[in-house]
Symmetry: C2
Subunit: 258 residues, 2 copies
DNA sequence: CGCTCGGTTGAGACGGTTCAAGACGTGTGG
DNA sequence: CCACACGTCTTGAACCGTCTCAACCGAGCG
């Protein structure tokens, strides 16, 4: 027994908490309806592959809960994590036959998916959709370049400090101003963290515990820390500008750097 | 004495060799006219700053000749080159008040510039313009992630091999298939090269000369090499897929990776 | 001619990796 | 409830790639 037609007047998206911070929430009402109509949920368990490297991108979408990781792999097995996707982030490579990175579930995730071709057709009918996509792509590009800076010329302790601060900002849902959210949950294991930061699990471990010894953080367990001395953490990151919140006025999209 | 009105029927762009590979050449005739109308040339000498980091982006544009470098600088002076822009590449951060990287002339350059706000207004009137911009931004994002892979988990010799192969592909104007264009011109100095690859000038020098000793390349001078053994150069790069030309069918934009 | 600047070369030091062993925590089966 | 095993994290010690510092070289130029 399928839902009665008039039920569809209210889409499941209307109750979706993710929408307000996401691409789908920043477009006109009628476009929201269209998006709701072609959307379908998917769930993946931790470790499962959403889209393999060099696989045809059949769908794109938005992260409803959990964390996705984008990663690239070299022939000899070395791999680099090129991005993490949190709740309300858009994922998937539009306008291309195949993505050159894999997308995997870094935790259990629920995704709101759109068949890629259908989504692309919507961008043709609704330029505002393409515009929103453009804005978030530009943000991703800024983030990628920031990460190049990190990988190219920062020491491992600096990278880790930046990573922790980035997690703060992303998870803290933008109330970065005050001394709030001083607890960090690292949604990925040491292996992924190492891959993201261009180092090894061993080194991560050493640096984290060194930070704990210096009283910068407190280690609750391997995945959860408290920030005891934010100022010193920022100083350790090697970039003051990170403590400055991004100019939200300019970018309705999302927090910029990282 | 200014040009007579009817002269404007033929825009300077119509004679521009760059147009056919560039963003401005992939849009409709009337949009091309609009672009031509708001375009104005600029020239910079090697080393001059086009747009400073954190400066308001007043204009964007297309590289007509020469090479631009995009770079980010840390408080303590360390800097990372986050991208090179060659002829026909689009430069400048649209839809943002200020760019978070500097754009400088890596050689003498001539640019075809658009006042940023005027350009953005055009994207509103012409969705196709935004679409072309979107495609090239996505390519840039792919390139940035490829570079993250390079910086995050490749050795210096691998990075240098990849860099040389990238130059081959970019300068070789897409006839990468055959054994053609075996000569490389490095358009930047050792310092920039080091910054791009996340290493130092000294190490670059050592590796380059080691490659020469092994008969992989021949050093004509500090900026010009010949590739003597492309197969070994590719093997050295640690990625086979680089020898495969990008699927041009999928992307009318430009060569993808790097 | 001598200055400067970019590139090259050498020697030593250091950061980070590698390899190997140990601790922790968590789930499973007896 | 304990014992066991497995995976992840941690810790230690040796090793190696790359950086640093310094000297040198060569080309371009006033």
């Amino acid at each position: 027994m399928e839902p009665l037609p008039f039920i569809r007047a209210l889409t499941p998206c209307d109750a979706c908490a993710v929408r307000k911070n996401s691409l789908c929430g920043r477009v006109s009402a009628d476009l929201q309806k269209e998006l709701a109509r072609i959307s379908h949920p998917r769930t993946y368990r931790i470790g499962e592959t959403v889209l393999a490297e060099m696989e045809a991108t059949s769908f794109v979408g938005i992260v409803a809960s959990g964390v996705l990781r984008m990663q690239k792999t070299l022939e000899d097995g070395r791999q680099q994590l090129v991005g993490l996707l949190f709740r309300s982030d858009f994922f998937g490579r539009v306008f291309a036959g195949l993505s050159d990175y894999a997308i995997e579930a870094a935790s259990d995730v629920t995704l709101c998916c759109y068949e890629r071709r259908a989504f692309e057709r919507l961008t043709e009918r609704f330029p505002q959709l393409e515009h929103q996509l453009m804005l978030s792509t530009l943000d991703e590009l800024d983030a990628a370049r920031n990460w190049m800076l990190l990988l190219g010329c920062q020491t491992i302790p600096e990278r880790i400090a930046n990573f922790l601060l980035m997690l703060c900002r992303r998870s803290g849902a933008d109330e970065w101003t005050a001394g709030a959210n001083l607890s960090i949950h690292v949604p990925i294991g040491r292996r992924d963290m190492a891959s993201y930061l261009g180092t090894t699990g061993e080194t991560i471990s050493r640096v984290i515990h060194e930070m704990s010894r210096k009283g910068i953080i407190k280690i609750r367990n391997a995945q959860d820390f408290d920030i005891l001395n934010k100022r010193q953490l920022v100083r350790m990151s090697g970039r003051d500008d990170l403590s400055i919140p991004p100019p939200v006025a300019f970018r309705p999209t999302r927090a910029s750097s990282f």
